[in-house]
């Protein structure tokens, strides 16, 4: 059964816990205090929180069915995981040409230039049952549901 | 009181026999039958109700009285005389029995309400007038107790094993078309003569095995309709409920059973629409009359004998027929003791009443 991540901006309180947990999940130690206080380069979150007035929402890769980043990627680093349907970036192959950034209409791919330049994006927390942003959103503004 | 709490088995024995043709028979069978369930009693109470025993006084209200002392009797008689013409009164005949240790003064009165009193209470029925008298005596006069108050019937009860009580009252000398008997194993009220079963009011008699968990609300519900429960007994409550539902609200025994042991909502949902509407209304209106907790009960009045089990059948109840005779008892063995080969024997379902009616009469 295909599950999707839904964003419910009306319930996003803008706490940015999703960012915190995303960062930790993509850190080396996966320990919240070490990730923040002891890791260099500092890990970066792969989720973006937008905020304006009282409206806010978190946004991560939508793993589009018709993903422009897959078409734009010149190296073949960007691929769709056959099993989960997730759009993932093979960081080994990625050369940081930023074609994906150019075409992503959600603006949810960022440059990670801390080491080798690579496109940094949501990987749906490979290996986790539920992405950590979903699991840790205190208000269920990011939810993982069966396709509507 | 401690004597009751030392014992850890519980249960009462009940039996009712009705000759639906109206033919009367002696109390010998009922004594034999209840004696077979001696195990279910503990000697702290036994009793009988008999219908059709005073054909010569069948128009008069017969009060079976228990007086703990002479002054109670004097007070009671004074009160009765104020309101009734005493057609006849006499001691209730008994026979010496070693096992019956203590007994109150047992007296019976055949009464007719005075015309002027009836006029004074033009707004209530004669039954209500009599019931009021009974409740007045029971609650106002210390040491006086009305064991039964119907017409052509009587309740015989006391502290002891029921078969001893039966012999003590010389019941084999009476003839009735309904006999009910009860062997008591009291846990809730101290074993006293008035507290033994059956409980009687007007021509109602109730014998009961069980414990009514809804007692507190049943009692308060009845209060709303003017019934004052004076004895802390479940039988009293059940008697009043039947009186209210059948006599006052003119409901059939079947409907009364649907109130006392209401079907579950889930079952009601499955009923036909008309039936469901009635069942819902019954539960909504008479929710406080729902009798909860384990019980089996035999209720009788002049025309009817009804056996009824609780909603989930937590206490035993068996029924049998033989010709016109209907038997309802705690144990099948108690029936077979006096009717070895009944036509039919069955276990009534939870909340499903077994009803015996006098032929040609309506219940």
């Amino acid at each position: 059964m295909v599950k999707r991540i839904y964003i419910r901006e009306e319930y996003c309180m803008g706490c940015r816990l999703c960012e915190v947990h995303c960062l930790v999940q993509h850190s080396k130690t996966k320990n919240i205090i070490k990730a923040y206080k002891g890791e260099y380069p500092k890990p970066i979150p792969r989720i973006i929180v937008e905020e304006k007035g009282y409206v806010s929402f978190a946004l991560q890769c939508r793993h589009c069915e018709d993903a422009p980043c897959l078409e734009a990627c010149i190296t073949g680093a960007m691929y769709r995981d056959k099993k989960t349907g997730a759009v993932l970036c093979d960081e080994d192959k990625c050369i940081g040409c930023w074609m994906c950034i150019m075409v992503c209409p959600f603006g949810v791919i960022s440059r990670n230039i801390e080491g080798k330049k690579i496109a940094s994006k949501c990987d749906l927390c490979v290996g986790e049952e539920v992405p950590v942003c979903v699991k840790n959103c205190p208000n269920e503004a990011i939810v993982c549901e069966e396709e509507k | 009181m401690d004597r009751f709490h030392e014992k850890d088995i519980s249960g009462c024995g009940i039996i009712g026999i009705m000759e639906q043709s109206g033919k009367r028979f002696s109390g010998r069978d009922i004594i034999t039958s209840i004696a077979s369930m001696r195990e279910r009693a503990n000697g702290l109470g036994g009793g009988f109700a008999a219908y059709g025993i005073y054909p010569e006084f069948k128009r008069d209200w017969c009060f079976h009285m228990m007086f703990e002392n002479k002054s109670a009797m004097v007070q009671t008689e004074e009160y009765i005389r104020d309101n009734y013409k005493i057609v006849k009164d006499e001691i209730i005949p008994t026979k010496e029995d070693k096992s019956i240790k203590y007994r109150p003064l047992l007296w019976r009165y055949f009464l007719q309400p005075k015309e002027e009193k009836k006029k004074l209470h033009y707004d209530i029925t004669e039954e209500d007038f009599v019931a009021k008298t009974v409740i007045e005596i029971n609650t106002r006069i210390s040491g006086a107790f009305v064991a039964s108050s119907g017409k052509n019937m009587g309740v015989f009860k006391g502290v002891g094993y029921p078969e001893d009580i039966g012999r003590f009252y010389r019941l084999e000398e009476y003839e009735a078309y309904i006999w009910t008997a009860h062997g008591r194993f009291p846990t809730n009220t101290v074993g006293w003569w008035g507290g033994a079963h059956p409980f009687g009011l007007l021509d109602w008699s109730v014998i009961h095995n069980g414990e009514i968990s809804s007692y507190g609300i049943n009692k308060r519900f009845l209060l709303n309709y003017g019934y004052v429960c004076a004895f802390f007994t479940d039988t009293e409550v059940i008697t009043y409920l039947f009186d209210l539902l059948v006599r006052k609200h003119k409901l059939s025994f079947e409907v009364a059973a649907d109130i006392l042991t209401a079907p579950f909502w889930d079952d009601i949902e499955r009923q036909s629409e008309e039936k469901r509407e009635i069942s819902q209304a019954l539960r909504i209106i008479y929710g406080s009359a729902l009798v909860n907790g384990p019980f089996s009960v035999i209720v009788a009045n002049t025309n009817t004998m009804v056996g009824l089990n609780d909603r989930i059948k937590l206490r035993p109840l068996v029924a049998a027929t033989s010709g016109n005779k209907l038997y309802i008892a705690s144990e099948e063995s108690a029936i077979r003791e006096v009717c070895p080969t009944p036509d039919e024997v069955w276990m009534p379902k939870a909340g499903e009443p077994v009803i015996g009616r006098l032929k040609g009469k309506n219940g």
Partner: protein
């Protein structure tokens, strides 16, 4: 069903994937004139053309070149004919004739032959040390030439994308490069002056010389080896390596002298079919719809080639899909400066509104071009984060009147867009697990 695909790059590979999505059984044959590459004994049977500059600059090793893995053809049951050129089309027989006269019958044909480098009129072009730069072989040949000839100086003819990527690669190899550009600036096709100036300055800082408004007229050489170039104005520049990168054009050789209509490229309809039934074209060799200019023209960019290949593949396999059109865009990092240009970046004519912020000191430049309140173009230099949102606005032709003033703000994001459009975006394209 027999599918024959000419070309094994973006368009061809995308078409294979699309065909296989709809048709698991049909026979697919791919023809490519590219040779098989062996890396540590393992065959690599395709590669990503844009990566050749990275290969040359040693930022990528040969084993990272493949675009799809070696199992790709096996998994998709594709017969791959490598190192063989399609020379002729026999439309009546529905056959492709290969070099060596092998004939391949087809039911559906895709021409995704890509582009060819434009070769300008320069004397001495056939000297050793003169290269174009579009294929893997070019990169390897240049590399070998540099190694064997200990090249220290090079001239790159053309300051476009390929020229600059080549320049960058050469600089990585510690070669001094002079760029000769006919226009007044680098990247003149996609950048405006400000954007170009940032890159020019960066190139200058790295020691690259840029000569604009000029061109090479002759390559001087000795022993058939280039030693220098002579410019239009007579100036001489010494160089033992010359890379000619003045542009590419659609490769339409195969369809010449056939009834298949061409302009600059092969003309296709909205379903990527040529005027001849069952013959499709995709990628740099074709001319498809430009979404912004609302006309057909070749758009030689990777994403368009993939999209066209995919749509062509779907249509060949019977799933009717329409090509929505594309527009020029590119993302390239030059001298460590990321840049993105999309759409009409240097508008001429009336009705345009330009929003921009320019921070020369930090090499940051952002420019948004609007026409009738719709975003039609954008340039980002250095700060390219979330550039795709603007691309999306261009593609969806969103009326930006209500949020125009937010377009250049630091915190511009989906939240700045009208709620309905935002909801449409987020609800329309949702994440899958």
């Amino acid at each position: 069903m027999r599918y024959v695909l000419i070309g094994n790059s973006a368009g061809g590979i995308a078409a294979i994937e699309a065909i296989r999505e709809c048709d698991k059984k049909g026979e697919i044959t791919v023809i490519s004139d590219e040779p098989r590459i062996f890396v540590r004994g393992k065959p690599h049977i395709n590669y990503s053309r844009p990566l050749i500059s990275y290969l040359l600059g040693e930022k990528v090793t040969l084993d990272k070149m493949p675009y799809r893995g070696e199992d790709f053809y096996k998994d998709n049951r594709v017969e791959l004919i490598l190192n063989r050129k399609a020379t002729k089309l026999n439309l009546k027989k529905k056959e492709v004739v290969l070099a060596g006269d092998r004939k391949l019958p087809f039911d559906k044909l895709l021409i995704a032959a890509g582009g060819m480098p434009v070769i300008p009129e320069i004397k001495g072009l056939n000297s050793g040390g003169v290269f174009t730069f579009t294929r893997l072989a070019d990169a390897r040949n240049i590399k070998n030439y540099i190694r064997t000839n200990k090249v220290k100086e090079a001239v790159v003819v053309g300051g476009g994308l390929i020229g600059l990527k080549a320049t960058e690669a050469l600089m990585e190899l510690k070669i001094k490069v002079v760029i000769v550009e006919l226009a007044d600036r680098v990247l003149s096709a996609t950048f405006d002056k400000k954007a170009s100036s940032i890159i020019e300055n960066a190139l200058g800082r790295k020691g690259c010389e840029l000569i604009t408004n000029n061109t090479v007229v002759e390559i001087k050489g000795k022993n058939k080896r280039a030693e220098g170039v002579i410019l239009k104005d007579g100036k001489k520049i010494s160089a033992s390596l010359v890379i000619v990168a003045v542009g590419v054009r659609p490769n339409i050789e195969l369809v010449k002298n056939t009834p298949i209509k061409t302009n600059k490229g092969i003309l296709v309809d909205a379903f990527l079919q040529t005027n001849i039934k069952d013959i499709y074209a995709a990628g740099d060799c074709c001319e498809a719809e430009d979404l912004l200019l609302e006309m057909k023209r070749p758009i030689a960019i990777w994403p368009a080639a993939v999209r066209q290949g995919k749509i062509a593949g779907f249509n060949m396999a019977g799933a009717r899909k329409e090509y929505p059109g594309s527009f020029a865009m590119n993302s390239v990092e030059l001298c460590g400066i990321p840049t993105i240009s999309v759409g009409e970046t240097y508008p001429e004519g009336k009705g345009y509104q330009v929003l921009e912020c320019f921070d020369q000191k930090n090499s940051v430049y952002k420019k948004i071009v609007l026409k009738n309140n719709k975003v039609v173009g954008a340039i980002f230099v250095s700060d390219i984060e979330r550039a795709g949102i603007y691309t999306g606005l261009i593609k969806d032709k969103v009326d930006a009147a209500s949020f125009k003033e937010h377009l250049l703000k630091e915190d511009f994001g989906l939240i700045s867009l009208p709620k309905e459009y935002r909801k449409h975006l987020v609800a329309g394209e949702v994440a899958v697990i």
